[in-house]
Amino acid sequence: MEALIGLLVGAPLLGAAVLLCGGRRLDRTGHWLGTALAAASFVIGLILFIDMLGREAEQRAMHQHLFSWIPVADFRADVAFQLDQLSMTFVLLITGVGTLIHLYSVGYMEHDERRRRFFGYLNLFLAAMLLLVLADNYLLLYFGWEGVGLASYLLIGFWQHKTSAATASKKAFLVNRVGDIGLAIAVMLMFTTFGTFTFGPVLESTGAAGEGKLTAIGLMLLLAACGKSAQVPLQSWLGDAMEGPTPVSALIHAATMVTAGIYLVVRSGAIFNASPDAQLVVVTVGAVTLLYGAIVGCAKDDIKKALAGSTMSQIGYMMLAAGLGPIGYAFAIMHLVTHGFFKAGLFLGAGSVMHGMNDDVDMRKYGGLRKYMPVTFVTFGLGYLAIIGFPGLSGFFSKDMIIEAAFAKGGAQGWILGSCALLGAAITAYYMTRVMILTFFGPERWSKEGPDARHPHESPKSMTIPMIVLAVGSVGAGFVFDLNESFVHWLEPVTALEHGHPPMSAMTITAGTVVALLIGVGTAWAQYGRRPVPVQAPRGSLLTRAARRDLLQDDFNHVVLVKPGEYLTRGLVYLDHKVVDGFVNGTAASFGGLSGRMRRVQNGFVRSYAVSMFGGAVLLLAATLLMRAV
């Protein structure tokens, strides 16, 4: 069985290699090859899952050692995999959603002449992401981490002829580098502290390290997680990343890659458990981001950017849960999985709408689409109900658990975090209702004639089938997971489990969540359902205007980072030109001059050469004798 683990990564890697190196002859069939290999990986994942279920909970983790990667004296890095319940969850999510999105892309990218390359990149992403979650040590994880970063960069900028896409990919790459440096430093700190970076030894020996060291490692890991998962303060790239093709937004920037940060924090739980300070920072980041993303989501008219804000906010929930420690880890992952279903579904729905609307993303120019795209409407609607936490759907269970756990943190902290989470739930309901109303209800605001005429239509089967499957997941996953707390117990061997004790009964909190939901939905309906929606966005309040500009994140970065950076660069360039170059060129010139003078000795007369040899001989003898005399 262990041998299959490598194949999980191997199948999409093979796909990437074949598709990217295969050349044009694969243009006709390449996408099916890519999809088939993604599906193969999913099937392997299922086999391993069934095999894992057949064993005792404590004996479910499997290891596979492939080869020694970097053996240098005491430094040992292996390419080895660890498949435990946490990794298994991710494997199924990545390959399952991944396969669906491959299938969807077959239709979505039909008219793109670079479709083969697109599937190559998608397969590359799958391979890197699987490597990330299957690695049994932090260095290999880092490798996968960079791999998904690369795939993300390539896919955001896939339509590189658009300047906006090229810029967005560069931005995503640069912001991610900041986070990646955090991971690099964390790995180095681990090596100096524990002498290894294999999960087992590191996480078991946290007791032996000082709390300061652990806090440092924890904060660096968090920095990495912030970059990859678009958490404040490294959130600015996610909105722009929507320039990529919609399947990419669904797979990478909603369902899987952006959750890598959560994986990292949960996987390193032992480190955070031992450092309350680091945990406090994690929950703060989570709480801030969940509100930040939600507010941004309220103001966006671009359907994908609204969803991106929502992604940020939902990952904020997960981060919050992960920061709560053993009372939250399992719920973080549970929300991650349900979010994977409904957010991927929502993005695919958005893609389907765009597909029918000539790639227009402005929701103010939508309206009344439910008649034209019934399947999209129903699946999107189910995803909508799931994300706002409509009772009985998946989002309800997972989000409710997180809010409960936040209150259970206890003390003032618990109250603050709980309130934030509750407030977030209300805002989520508001902005998602807004998206829903603007897109599918109300009058049809798109032009029906002229050059901008729109002819909305339902998407082909290859696109709707994945949407239907994901909608089913969005509806049912939460219920299945919640049945006898099956999901929590499944993860228990990895994440440990403590039951929190919230200051009020669970029923009260659930009721509060439902009330928050109703307030959000009601407000949105009052604002957009009852009144006509202007096609041109109104000026809006100060907050609205700020939120449209992503709460001034780019302005902030520009003033605080870019400008001083520019000045620093200019200064360094000046220094380089005047001082360094001056020194270097001066040295070069002086050697050149020396060379020119020395050359004159080489005059071509053999007599001079003989004299110089004689002089050399005299010197040599004199020096030898002198050495003895001294």
């Binding site: 050697f591 060379s595 020395m598 040599l620």
Partner: protein
Amino acid sequence: MSTNSLHSLWTTAAEEPGAIPTPHIEYAELSPTLIVIGAALIGIVIEAFVPRKHRYTAQLLVAVTALASAFAAVVGLAVSGRGSGESKIAAMGAIAVDGPALFLQGTILLVGLISALIFAERRLDPVAHGKQVDSFAAQAAAAPGGEAEREAVRAGYTTTEVYPLVLFAIGGMLVFPAANDLLTLFIALEVFSFPLYVMCALARRNRLMSQEAAVKYFLLGAFSSAFMLFGVALLYGYSGAIDYAGIARVISGTEPTTNATLAQTTGNDALLLIGAAMVLLGMLFKVGAVPFHMWTPDVYQGAPTPVTGFMAAATKVAAFGALLRLLYVVLPGLRWDWEPVMWGVAILTMLGGAVLALTQTDIKRLLAYSSVAHAGFILAGVIATSEDGVSSVLFYLAAYSFVTLGAFAVVTLVRDAGGEATHLSKWAGLGRRSPLVAAVFAVFLLAFAGIPLTSGFTGKFAVFKAAAESGAGALVVVGVVSSAIAAFFYIRVIVLMFFQEPKADGPSVAVPSLLTTAAIGVGVAVTVVLGVAPQYFLDLAGQAGVFVR
């Protein structure tokens, strides 16, 4: 030493003929040298008896076969353990058969083999009167520009004597690093020097320059030989012995007198110091160390380029081999005297070579000065006086000789109407016109500069490491600084080839036959393999690091 005692020395030897034992020759151990010398003699016979039109084929066949079988013999000796555990001294104490000797002989033979291929190239020069010709003069004895020369050219003659000459040179070079007494050393030096002088004069084009180079080389070589021979005499006067072990014993004091008739001079340190310095001088001349380097640029430039490549590679290997043996076997007891002096020579050589190369405008002169700088780097490894030092030098020599051969082989390809276009300005934009040739040359230049993933880096790293470990940190610093200076002019050529517009009347790259292609291919392969996966060869050199005493 009085006349009396000298007289008695001769008469003693004459009176007792029985005292000279019948020499005992280990033919198997000496077979590499014997094969090569034998083939050279066959080559002379070929010149005398084989019709002119068959000579080229016959000579090439004999040379290649001889060199290949001599190399096989070296490998056989090494496999039978002569290189490590069972090294011995053969031919009545004249020749050492040990690790360093076999390693260097193997290197020299491979270099010789590849050089023979480059010598035999006949596609580059334009066809003269219906005959394909090589880089060598139609008739070396004909005066340049004279009627005899014109006739010889018209007849399509070529100097096939170059093959026996190169075989004689290789024969001498095989003995030089293995010589275990001072007389053998001197004779080997002369045996390989004379053919080199002659070969330098054989260029087909620019014959006057070629002959001038040969005369200069001969005069200066004779001058240095005189020093060396005098040094040999002084060392004999000091110790009463000519074999290495005997001299070493006297120096270390374990055996104060070996010869009663020389009792007056034995142990006189002035004789020892002056003698040792003079013998060293002879070798420093051959490796081209500053201030005995002045012949290099002129000779490298004037000699036919295939000969330059051979000379630059093989002479250096042989001379450094002999230098190592001299310092490690004969003069270890004198280490505190020669070490500071050699430090000075090494520093001067590294810096001098690198600085002088900066302003060169001719590619062959540039490579000549580069070879001077490299001699300095190798000297740094020689000074290390450790087993690592020996093996690092062995590795460096092997790596360097293939890069050099390859680089000079590429020089033979870039030609214009006047033959090889060696002026650097003509190389501008070569990368645009002939990307492959320029890329290959760039690989060699990077190896010269010691850029990682080339053999140059591995070699330099090895010698500097050995030098640093033996406490010569300052030397390593100078070495690194010189490498930085040297990198400038190597990279400059690359910039010239790839980042400048080609000239309208620039040279063209001739398409060589399989011979030169193979030679360059081997050069590139060795350069890259020794850079990427050097471990096996480092181990090989490491095992060969012990001299027999």
